[in-house]
Structure formats: structure tokens, C-alpha cells
């Protein structure tokens, strides 16, 4: 089982950052690697159990199910149903925590999954750096104080 943990600090209050990321269908609005997204079956994007169906900029299609969403804890958990990455039992959680000193946000993104041993290092890099860190870097830029 591969485990990934990526964390960062965004220079904006946690409720504002949460507003941006809580939209399960909203990745294209803030994540540079995601091109488009829709929720299957016309479900609301914050209904636990809904499925997002999205494309990455390199053309890959991914379907993920929302398993948990908490506006109290600023966290959401989701699982991959289909993807071209060759991962199984993929479970990820994003969580925001307020940093009172400076009214900023501590962001964590974790994932666990299984894959062919030969691909572990590449997938660790692709998901950890290419998706999670890239996402947080984008949020940092979008919320940076001018």
C-alpha cells in the first residue's frame, strides 16, 4: 500500500479556502491539472455519494465518489472508481485547519492505494507532486496577498 502525505500553508482564512475547495465538482476552477468536470446523475456536488467524472489536461478520464464531507472539520474524503493510473483501493482525504497566527490555512492532502510494485515510485511522484502539491501551489497563488 502506497501512502502519500502532502501539506502546505495558504495565506487566507480557512473558511475562504474551504469555500473554494469544498465544491466536489469545482476542480477545474482552481486545479491546473484538471480540464473539466461534471457530477453524474445531476446530483448536487456536496451530496455524499455523488460521483465526479472529470478529465485531466493530458486527456485521462477519472471517476471519483465523494465519501465524506464536513463543513465543520473542513474535510472531504473520496475514492477513485476508475482511472488510467492503474491504482486500486485508492482513498484520499483533503483537510483544512485554521492557523490563528496570521489568519491562514494549514492544508493536508493524504492518499492510500495499491498498485504494481514497479510503479510505486512513479505514482507517488505523479499523485503527490503532480496532483496534490500542484493543487496546493495553485491555491497559494490564487489566495496570495497582492
Amino acid at each position: 500500500m502506497v501512502k502519500i502525505y502532502v501539506s502546505s500553508v495558504v495565506d487566507a482564512p480557512a473558511d475562504r479556502v474551504w469555500d473554494r475547495v469544498r465544491d466536489f465538482n469545482g476542480l477545474p476552477k482552481w486545479h491546473p491539472v484538471i480540464a473539466d468536470s461534471r457530477i453524474e446523475g445531476n446530483q448536487p456536488a456536496d451530496k455524499v455519494g455523488c460521483i465526479r467524472n472529470f478529465h485531466t489536461r493530458d486527456g485521462g478520464q477519472i471517476r471519483e465518489r465523494l465519501l465524506a464531507l464536513s463543513d465543520y472539520d473542513y474535510s472531504c474524503t473520496y475514492a477513485i472508481l476508475e482511472s488510467p493510473m492503474g491504482v486500486s483501493n485508492y482513498l484520499a482525504t483533503m483537510r483544512l485547519v485554521p492557523v490563528t497566527d496570521g489568519n491562514r490555512t494549514f492544508c493536508e492532502w493524504t492518499a492510500e492505494f495499491d498498485c504494481e510494485p514497479a510503479r510505486e515510485a512513479d505514482l507517488h511522484e505523479l499523485i503527490g507532486q503532480g496532483v496534490f502539491k500542484a493543487g496546493f501551489d495553485a491555491l497559494k497563488r490564487q489566495f496570495a496577498k497582492p
Binding site: 502506497v2 501512502k3 497566527d101 515510485a121 505514482l123 507517488h124 502539491k133 496546493f136
Partner: protein, 489 residues
């Protein structure tokens, strides 16, 4: 009830911040409000239950007790015992999280308490501002500047990335008897790519360690630390390690030798993460022997319900596991042991017919017990002293699995001899079965399921301190041990 939470980002690695905070008596070195502090009764400053008595700069004296501390979660909880300031039922928790972006630390400090009516805002404000926020600023400045805080007391188990640390290990400088197992301080380097640094909590002793200590061999070239089995907590991981995180509880049974040590840096590939239901001591007593039983019963030979299985040294570490697991599968288990006490142990472990006999004499008894059929599979870790008897006890088309040689390597047998019974003789080695990570994970999963479900009981019957490794070997070689033997650093 007042509840306060304050948090900050410290521009220093989590290990550096935790090293300071985990010392319950360090606050007078960095917190501006604290003048002096000491731990009552000479207790270690990282032991839950210890009490710090300290004086603030304004003269007030307080006592606080450490309730919980977790190096795995980077958190600690404490409460106020005595204080002139009316913070009633005050319980506070400090929690750190790693900020991977920039090697920084998220620090959260929270508490709940009651106050006299009307003083909630005043006291909550005081705690938040003068204790928490002042603490963040002060420690942040000290560590963030690349400065260091000298922390007295227990050597912190976590160190800044990149430092070698000193720890105790057994070092063999010459092959020989148990007396060559001598404890020495060694320098343990930080983990390189693909490696982890592990703080070991329990070490497994195996007969293989005796072989490798006794005479020249390719696997232990002095000066070297012996041992191939251990369990503990991961301190840090090197680049490219994807299946282990710092804080994970892991165990291993693999080469190269080096497990007789308090701290060890090693390749991560052969480490397995322990499930919550298996503690470190059980793991150290079970991994090598359990993985051995797993492959012997399922991979070298697939034992089926109704098979007759002969287990030598049935009360030994591997023996007890083979008896239990073979019985679980539904085999008829015959075992050889050296004493009546060991026979009792073997029987309790599922051995249907323990034979107490000198090693020359067991074969006729096996034939008798099986109405002349013999054993379909023989698991022989004894070698020279038992081999001829093992072959004699073998059924037609039987499988003699020589998985060890405690009394030396048996003489070679000829193909003609094999033809007498259409016999198979195999000399398997654990490490060939665990070499592929997916096989190792498969085998470990099977073993852990058996242990967690209670189907396999692990008997850690002998415990020694790391320094007493020689004694452990003496007892093992004298056949005075039963079940598993572990060393505790």
C-alpha cells in the same frame, strides 16, 4: 466551560520542534513567561504521569502533569494540578503536523477549562495571548533562525534530518561462541534513498543467528551486528520510500544481518507495516518464524486436510507455529521433542502425537502411529542428527523439507535413494520466498490474519535485554528454550 484553540506555522522541521516540545521540562528555556522549572521526583520529562513544578517571571508557582505523549502523532496532553490563577479543570493538548511544503511545522495548542463567573474572557484572553501566542513567537524565533535550544533530560528519539546518532548494538568482531556477542555503542547514519531509520522495540532471536555467529560464512563478516528479525517504530524515511511513513510500526525478517541494535538504518523494501492487533514483541517473535511456517505449509509443500505431517523440534519457535497451523489446515501432526515438558507444549499447540525420544529412534514410532504409511511431509530443521530418520519416516511419494540444519548439514543422498520412495527432498530458504514484495505482503497478510484471529498463538517464552544476547544464544543452543526468544533494547 472555555475552549481555546490557537495555531501557528513554525519555520523549522517537525523533528526539531517536537524534540523541544516533547521534553515536558523544556519550557523555561524558550517560553518568555517561565523563569524556572523542574520535574518532581527525578522522573523522565517525557513520561506520562511526570509533574513539572515551575515559577513564572511574576513569581507565581504552578504544577502541571503530563497525561499523554505520542511520538507517533507528535502530540501531548497535560493538565494543571496547582495554580494561583483560577484556571479550573484545565486540560491542554499540543499537536504538531508536518508541512511538507518547505519543511515547516504546524503547531496547534488548545485547552478547555472553567473560570470563576465573569472572568471567562479575561482568562481566556490571557491564556491565548500570554501563553500560546507568546510561546509560538518565542520558539518560532529560536528555531526558525536556525538556532538551537539545548534540551536537557532524555535523549529525544527523533533527531533533525541528516544527523547520525549513537545507539547500542551487539557487535561480533570474530566468529565463535556466544561470548563474541558484545554490546557496543555504534553510529547510526541517517536513511539514504530507499532506506528508513528504525527505533527498534523488540528483536527476534533465531537459530540462523547462531549459525552466522559460529563460523565463517558469506552473510556475517566481522565486524558486524547479527540478527535478521526485528520490530519497531520508523523514525525517518529516506527519498523514494513510498509504502512507509515516519511513525509507522513495522517489522521485518530479512537480510542483511544487523537487527541486534537499538536503532537501525536499513532498506525499506522488506519492512511490513504491523496491524493494530499485533504488538511489537509478538511481531519480533513471530515474523521470521511465522513467515517460515507460512511458506513451508503453503508454498514449498501445500499441506492438505488429512496429510500426515512430521515436525521436528515441535516445541521450538518454528515448531509450535507449524503444529498450530498444520492442525488448523486439518493435517495429522506428529512431532519430536526432547523432554516431556516440551511434549506438553507441543500437544497444547495442536501436535496430535508428540514423541519424546532420542533423535535416532523416532522413525519406527512414526511408522507405528501411521500404520506403516509414514509421514507425507517432514519438516526438518535439525539436519545431520535427524536426516536419516526423517527419510526413513517418509511415506511413499513423501516430501522431506530440510529448512534448517541445527546439527549440521546432512550428507548428500543419491538419486537412487530418492527412487526407493519416489521421495522429494527440498532445501528451501525463507529469503527466496520473500524476495518479491508482493509475495512478502501476501505471506505477511496470511500470517497476521492467523495471529489476529487467534488461530495462531505466538509464544514469546524468553525475553532478554539486548546486552544479554550471549545468554539468549547459550540457552537456545542448550535446547533449554521453547517458543520464541526476543531481545529488548
Amino acid at each position: 466551560m472555555v475552549a481555546i484553540t490557537r495555531s501557528a506555522i513554525i519555520d523549522a522541521p517537525i523533528d526539531a520542534v517536537w524534540r523541544v516540545l516533547r521534553d515536558f521540562n523544556s519550557h523555561h528555556l524558550w517560553h518568555p513567561a517561565v523563569a524556572t522549572s523542574e520535574i518532581e521526583g527525578g522522573q523522565p520529562p517525557d513520561q506520562p504521569g511526570c509533574v513539572r513544578r515551575f515559577r513564572l517571571r511574576d513569581g507565581a508557582e504552578l504544577r502541571e502533569q503530563l497525561i499523554a505523549l505520542s511520538d507517533r502523532d507528535f502530540s501531548l496532553t497535560y493538565c494543571i494540578l496547582d495554580s494561583p490563577i483560577p484556571l479550573l479543570d484545565y486540560v491542554a493538548t499540543v499537536r504538531l503536523r508536518r508541512v511538507t511544503d518547505g519543511g515547516r511545522t504546524f503547531w496547534e495548542w488548545r485547552s478547555t477549562f472553567r473560570t470563576p463567573p465573569g472572568r471567562e474572557d479575561e482568562l481566556a484572553g490571557m491564556v491565548a495571548r500570554d501563553i500560546y501566542e507568546a510561546g509560538f513567537a518565542a520558539l518560532g524565533a529560536l528555531l526558525g533562525r536556525g538556532g538551537a535550544v539545548r534540551v536537557r533530560g532524555v535523549v529525544a528519539p527523533l533527531v533533525a534530518r541528516g544527523e547520525a546518532i549513537d545507539a547500542e548494538a551487539i557487535v561480533v568482531r570474530d566468529h565463535g561462541g556466544p561470548e563474541v556477542l558484545v554490546a557496543e555503542p555504534v553510529r547510526v547514519p541517517p536513511p539514504g534513498p530507499g532506506e528508513v531509520r528504525l527505533r527498534q522495540t523488540a528483536i527476534g532471536v533465531n537459530y540462523l543467528d547462531v549459525y552466522l555467529r559460529s563460523g565463517p560464512n558469506a552473510l556475517l563478516r566481522p565486524p558486524a551486528t547479527p540478527g535478521v528479525e526485528g520490530a519497531g517504530e520508523v523514525m525517518e524515511v529516506g527519498e523514494g520510500v513510498t509504502h512507509i511513513l515516519p511513525g509507522d510500526r513495522v517489522a521485518y525478517a530479512c537480510l542483511p544481518v544487523g537487527s541486534y541494535a537499538a536503532v537501525r538504518t536499513m532498506a525499506a523494501q522488506q519492512l511490513v507495516v504491523l496491524p493494530a492487533g499485533i504488538d511489537d514483541e509478538t511481531a519480533a517473535g513471530a515474523v521470521l518464524k511465522g513467515l517460515t511456517a507460512e511458506y513451508l505449509l503453503h508454498r514449498t509443500h501445500r499441506v492438505r486436510r488429512g496429510d500426515v505431517v512430521l515436525v521436528h523440534a515441535a516445541a521450538g519457535g518454528v515448531g509450535l507455529l507449524l503444529c498450530q497451523w498444520a492442525k488448523h489446515i486439518g493435517a495429522t501432526v506428529i512431532g519430536t521433542v526432547g523432554t516431556p515438558d516440551k511434549a506438553r507444549l507441543a500437544r497444547d499447540a495442536g501436535c496430535d502425537y508428540p514423541i519424546v525420544a532420542p533423535l535416532a529412534d523416532f522413525a519406527p514410532q512414526v511408522k507405528d502411529l501411521t500404520h506403516g504409511h509414514g509421514a507425507d511431509v517432514v519438516y526438518d530443521g535439525i539436519g545431520k542428527a535427524s536426516f536419516a530418520g526423517s527419510f526413513e519416516a517418509l511415506a511413499l511419494r513423501g516430501h522431506l523439507v530440510l529448512y534448517g540444519q541445527a546439527t549440521g548439514m546432512p550428507d548428500p543422498i543419491s538419486h537412487a535413494t530418492l527412487a526407493e520412495k519416489s521421495a522429494t527432498v527440498t532445501r528451501p530458504v525463507l529469503f527466496h520466498y520473500t524476495a518479491a514484495p508482493e509475495d512478502l505482503r501476501d505471506m505477511a497478510r496470511n500470517l497476521f490474519q492467523m495471529i489476529e484471529s487467534g488461530a495462531l498463538r505466538v509464544s514469546v517464552n524468553q525475553r532478554y535485554s539486548l546486552r544479554q544476547a550471549a545468554e539468549a544464544h547459550r540457552e537456545l543452543e542448550a535446547r533449554r528454550t521453547t517458543g520464541s526468544t526476543i531481545l529488548l533494547p
